[in-house]
């Protein structure tokens, strides 16, 4: 990788100042950023580590109402601590990457990167979570802006994510055989007001809500109700691991599995 200056502030305020510098970029767990820097696809002048900021870490919540995850909280910590509030979220975190990746990777880093096959975006979008930054609160429906893109501005740092707790929820994913990212993953969350379904891994546009499935499931929360329903294959990713049609098909299978798991 190219060389850069490294700073590791201990407060959010210091981090914000550091990120105002020329070509400064935040570093969370680094599990995606560092590999892309090794390939010289990314060349920050200054890397501002967020892992030294205690305020950005931790899981807190109110049973049955909401859970808030600090942006620099690792997947492993979410897996271990979020289950008391939101089991489906903890389960998702427990299956991201591999154990060593889960000990470094963070929810904030995952969301800011918005990899089209990452797991967290599905949970955030299906849950209707709120992303809090140093500047504002952003609703999940407004946050994602296509593959590897979000509405975050230069220098804007995610500080936490707050998930409302659904009545029932589950995540089902089908692994891409090589990378073990989601070839297609479906997060289903049933709230009093209706069901939300978010699909990751499948679309060229990144994570998306599958609204047809949501209306069907809001009427009848069962996998059988989805029989024969598929999102359009147009706009789905097609690569050596699966055609667009296959991914569209997997959207149906994974959503049904998630519904079954949510009970």
């Amino acid at each position: 990788m190219y060389n850069f200056d490294f700073v590791r502030p201990s407060t959010l305020a210091e981090a914000v100042i550091a990120l105002a510098g020329d070509e400064a970029q935040p570093l969370a767990g680094g599990q995606t950023l560092l590999p892309s820097m090794k390939q010289r696809l990314n060349m920050p002048g200054t890397l501002v580590s967020l892992t030294g900021i205690a305020d950005l870490k931790g899981v807190s919540g109110e049973a049955g109402a909401s859970v808030t995850i600090g942006a620099a909280t690792t997947h492993a910590q979410v897996a271990a601590e979020a289950g008391a509030f939101y089991p489906a979220l903890a389960d998702l975190a427990a299956r991201i990457g591999d154990p060593a990746v889960r000990n470094r990777g963070t929810i904030g880093g995952s969301l800011a990167n918005n990899d089209p096959s990452a797991c967290y975006p599905a949970a955030v979008l299906a849950s209707g979570a709120t992303i809090t930054t140093n500047k504002r609160e952003i609703a999940a429906d407004d946050f994602f802006d296509g593959m590897f893109a979000t509405v975050l501005e230069e220098g804007e740092i995610i500080t936490s994510v707050t998930f409302p707790i659904p009545q029932a929820a589950a995540y089902a994913k089908f692994l891409q055989p090589a990378s073990r990212f989601a070839l297609t993953g479906a997060f289903v969350a049933r709230f009093e007001g209706g069901v939300r379904v978010a699909i990751t891994g499948a679309s060229e546009g990144g994570v998306f809500r599958w609204s047809d499935a949501e209306s069907v499931l809001s009427n009848s929360f069962s996998g059988d109700a989805l029989a024969g329903k598929l999102p359009a294959a147009e706009g789905m990713i097609s690569d050596l691991h699966g055609s667009a049609a296959y991914r569209a098909h997997l959207c149906g299978v994974m959503t049904r599995r998630a519904v079954a798991a949510a009970g």
Partner: protein, 793 residues
């Protein structure tokens, strides 16, 4: 006789101690005073003309010590192919020169056309990026698809080779007419077109090299990731750089797996030596994994049409194959042998089929060179045969077990000469099939299938009865077939004055456990403690000679050399004992580590004799030399022929197409087994790679010659949760008849026998689920491919 550590025991591996404690020394672990770093500038296009390379800006960059381009090596020799193959019309193969660095043209993505040496690795990489920017490469149309390469004579990988063909080979050409006739007249012919998928070997240690030059003596030293350091020395000395063999030492220290990819000499090794001489400093290079994907010799990559002619009862009449085999952009060292004499000669399988003809065209393409990868040609032969037999059984509704039995060569028929030029010495194919069926509880399969169905899964069983030729190889035979080297091996057994032993062997251990197994054999024969025997390997300055480790040859060939050297030690020991005991040499016996005079109580221990050899007081020097050290070169009389029966059970998810291998049974005949634990490990590893080939490993170039599967993000390596526990048996052994240990070789078996067992099981599962239109799916049977095949109904 040592009971715990001798032949047939499973002592703990002694090399494990250093590997488990982080004390192993792999090439990249070595740090040298004054070292500097090489980084290679590699083509980003598959095919292009090299224009101006402006080195000025690069040379001015921080830390840069030297810049090399293809022009610097234009006049040195090329890296050769080890086998000369003649086409059917008698013309010799086309053999383009393989340069150290590309000049004139680049021929595959990753082809190195320049190198930068700098004080640090990062500086070298930064400078290489600059040099790439300052290099003019004019894009040419890529040649990727083999059929198109042969069809379009105007677009050429090598300008002097008009149809991109290396050779068009017939084996055995004299069989051709009879085979054609037999197929024409046969009651039934099953035809199958299949692809044997290109694989990237992916030894976990990337290739690495350190070049050193010693100006005071003019000596060179290359430390490198090699399976055969003498072969590297020979190639560099005789063909590529002209360094005298006695001025070049090649050391292969701990090597993290090879699987074929580290047999060959690569340009990076020559470059670090040339740079070391120029700079008079050690020059090192370690591949990044992405370089490994682009430049390690790949494996397999055959497109084959096979026809099986048979009677209505399944009795085989003839096999005929037509294959396009990819050799990539340049001929790697074994590239011409792998698809021919390691493939065509196996096309009779373990069957008494009278007529076999193999036609094979090897094709140059703008892709990485293709060469031997674990199994090397034999997996391709086995896959074609065992798949087409399975398809025939389905077409004729015959029992796949019975069809194999009906056609097996039986023990009373050995030695058995096949129609494709091999003489099998021994085997019992029904015995291994019986054992596999017993292990797998074939009778209980329908119950297991019902249980899977209850969970919504389609269960299938697949059989493969395989044979291979290894213990490579008899020099007399391979010489006739075009080999440019002999394939003997050598060992020196040095008994030190204090009675302990150093064995210098040409075999190289990079996972095989030689340091543990070889002492078992020496100790057993000498009746001493295995702990007193040390194996020395991997250093041309310490070992006599050797062709290295590949082709399941280490034990059968180098082990036999070691065995024979020990016999010479015993013979010399008898002479010494006769002198010391004042007896006739003919009266000296050697048992349990003691030399004795037959019929008396006079005896000497091995240690006493060894000590005397180095303190030769009163020796009759005219007839008895001091010292106790013997060397043997062993050249095998034939290949060895391991064989076996593999049964695989899979579950297919009808919703997603995902295949899970749920059980795998291996019944193998490896001849005599020296160390069961290590044999089991070799089978496990081979089967794991075979399952990887069958299920997930896919090397994909796009039409522009870009490698799409160029990292572990897209090239699916089998992981722990992709495979089951394997059930392994090796009790049905028929010892090899022509080597002193009676051993056959076990290193490649798993990778040879397993892929067709997996695919046969997948086809069985899908057919049982009503997908009877599916007669074949090409490897790897990824979920997407299986699902797509199911949709075609």
């Amino acid at each position: 006789m040592p009971k715990d550590g001798g032949i047939g025991a499973s002592p703990k591996r002694r090399e494990d101690i250093r590997f488990l404690t982080g004390e192993g020394v792999y090439t990249d672990d070595i740090q040298l005073q004054g070292q500097c770093f090489a980084y290679f500038v590699r083509s980003t296009v598959a095919h292009g003309t090299i224009g101006t390379i402006d080195t000025a800006a690069t040379e001015a960059m921080p830390g840069v010590l030297a810049v090399f381009t293809g022009e610097d090596f234009k006049d040195v020799g090329g890296n050769p192919a080890g086998w000369l193959i003649n086409s059917r019309d008698g013309t010799p193969m086309r053999e383009p020169k393989r340069p150290v660095l590309a000049h004139g043209k680049v021929r595959h993505v990753g082809d190195a056309y320049a190198a930068v040496i700098a004080e640090t690795y990062a500086q070298a990489k930064d400078a290489a990026e600059q040099l790439a920017a300052d290099s003019e490469i004019e894009d040419l149309p890529a040649i990727v698809d083999m059929a198109a390469a042969v069809a379009n004579a105007d677009n050429r990988v090598h300008d002097e080779i008009p149809d991109n063909l290396c050779f068009d080979w017939g084996w055995v050409e004299d069989n051709r007419a009879a085979v054609d006739e037999a197929i024409k007249n046969a009651p039934h012919v099953t035809t199958l077109e299949l692809v044997n998928n290109r694989l990237v070997p992916n030894a976990m240690e990337p290739r690495a090299s350190i070049g050193e030059y010693f100006p005071g003596t003019g000596d060179y030293k290359l430390t490198t990731t090699s399976q055969n350091p003498h072969l590297h020395r020979l190639l560099i000395s005789a063909f590529v750089m002209g360094i005298p063999e006695n001025k070049l030492t090649v050391v292969a220290p701990d090597v993290g797996g090879g699987f074929g990819s580290k047999i060959y000499h690569y340009g990076e090794e020559a470059l670090v030596l040339a740079a070391a001489k120029k700079l008079k400093r050690p020059v090192r290079w370690t591949a990044e994994r992405s370089e490994s994907f682009l430049t390690d010799a790949h494996g397999r990559d055959h497109v084959t049409k096979i026809e099986l002619a048979c009677e209505e009862d399944g009795t085989f009449i003839a096999f005929r194959t037509e294959t396009l085999a990819n050799v990539g952009a340049y001929l790697s060292n074994f590239a011409t042998a792998t698809p021919t004499f390691l493939h065509g000669t196996l096309m009779a399988g373990p069957y008494k089929v009278p007529n076999v003809y193999v036609n094979l065209k090897t094709v140059f393409t703008n892709t990485a060179p293709v060469d031997a990868y674990r199994g090397a040609g034999r997996p391709e032969a086995t896959y074609s045969l065992e798949r087409v037999i399975d398809k025939m059984c389905r077409e004729l509704e015959l029992d796949p077990f019975e069809v194999r039995r009906k056609n097996f060569i039986t023990p009373d028929m050995f030695p058995y000469t096949t129609p494709v030029g091999l003489v099998y010495d021994t085997g019992d194919y029904n015995a291994t099939l019986d054992k596999a069926m017993e292990m797998a509880d074939v009778d209980g399969f329908e119950d297991r299938r019902a249980e899977s169905a209850a969970r919504g899964k389609l269960r299938g069983m697949g059989l493969s009865t395989w044979i291979e030729a290894c213990g490579i190889a008899p020099s007399n035979l391979v010489g006739v077939l075009g080999s440019r080297v002999g394939l003997y091996d050598a060992a020196t057994v040095r008994v030190n004055a204090t009675g302990n032993i150093s064995v210098m062997t040409g075999a190289h251990s990079h996972g095989q456990g030689h340091e543990t197994v070889f002492p078992q054999i020496v100790a057993e024969k000498l009746g001493i403690d295995p702990a007193s025997v040390e194996i020395v390997h991997g250093d041309t300055s310490k070992i006599p000679f050797g062709m290295g480790s590949y082709g399941s040859r280490s034990l059968a060939v180098a082990g036999s050399a070691m065995n024979n050297a020990v016999d010479k030690i015993i013979a010399k020991g008898k002479k010494i004992a006769a002198h010391m005991l004042e007896a006739s040499e003919d009266d000296i016996t050697f048992e349990d580590g003691n030399f004795a005079v037959a019929g008396t109580d006079k005896s000497l221990s091995f240690g006493e004799v060894a000590f005397s050899a180095y303190v030769p007081h009163n020796y009759p020097l005219e007839t008895l030399e001091p010292g106790l050290e013997e060397t043997s070169f062993y050249d095998p009389g034939n290949f060895t022929y391991p064989a076996g029966a593999y049964l695989c059970e899979v579950e297919v998810c009808p919703e997603t197409g995902k295949v899970d291998v749920v059980a795998f049974y291996c019944a193998d005949d490896f001849g005599n087994v020296m160390n069961p634990l290590i044999v089991e490990g070799q089978v496990h590893g081979g089967v794991g790679q075979g399952i990887g080939q069958a299920l997930c490993e896919q090397t994909t170039y796009d039409a522009d010659g870009q490698l799409l599967s160029a990292s572990y993000m897209d090239y699916a390596m089998p992981r722990a949760d992709d495979v089951p526990f394997y059930q392994v048996d090796y009790s049905c052994n028929t010892p090899c008849t022509h080597n002193p240990l009676g051993v056959k070789g076990c290193g490649e078996a798993g990778a040879i026998g397993s892929p067709p067992a997996v695919i046969n099981a997948v086809v069985d599962a899908l057919n049982s689920g009503g997908f009877t239109h599916i007669t074949h799916i090409d490897m790897p049977v990824t979920p997407s491919r299986v699902w797509t095949a199911m949709q075609a109904q």
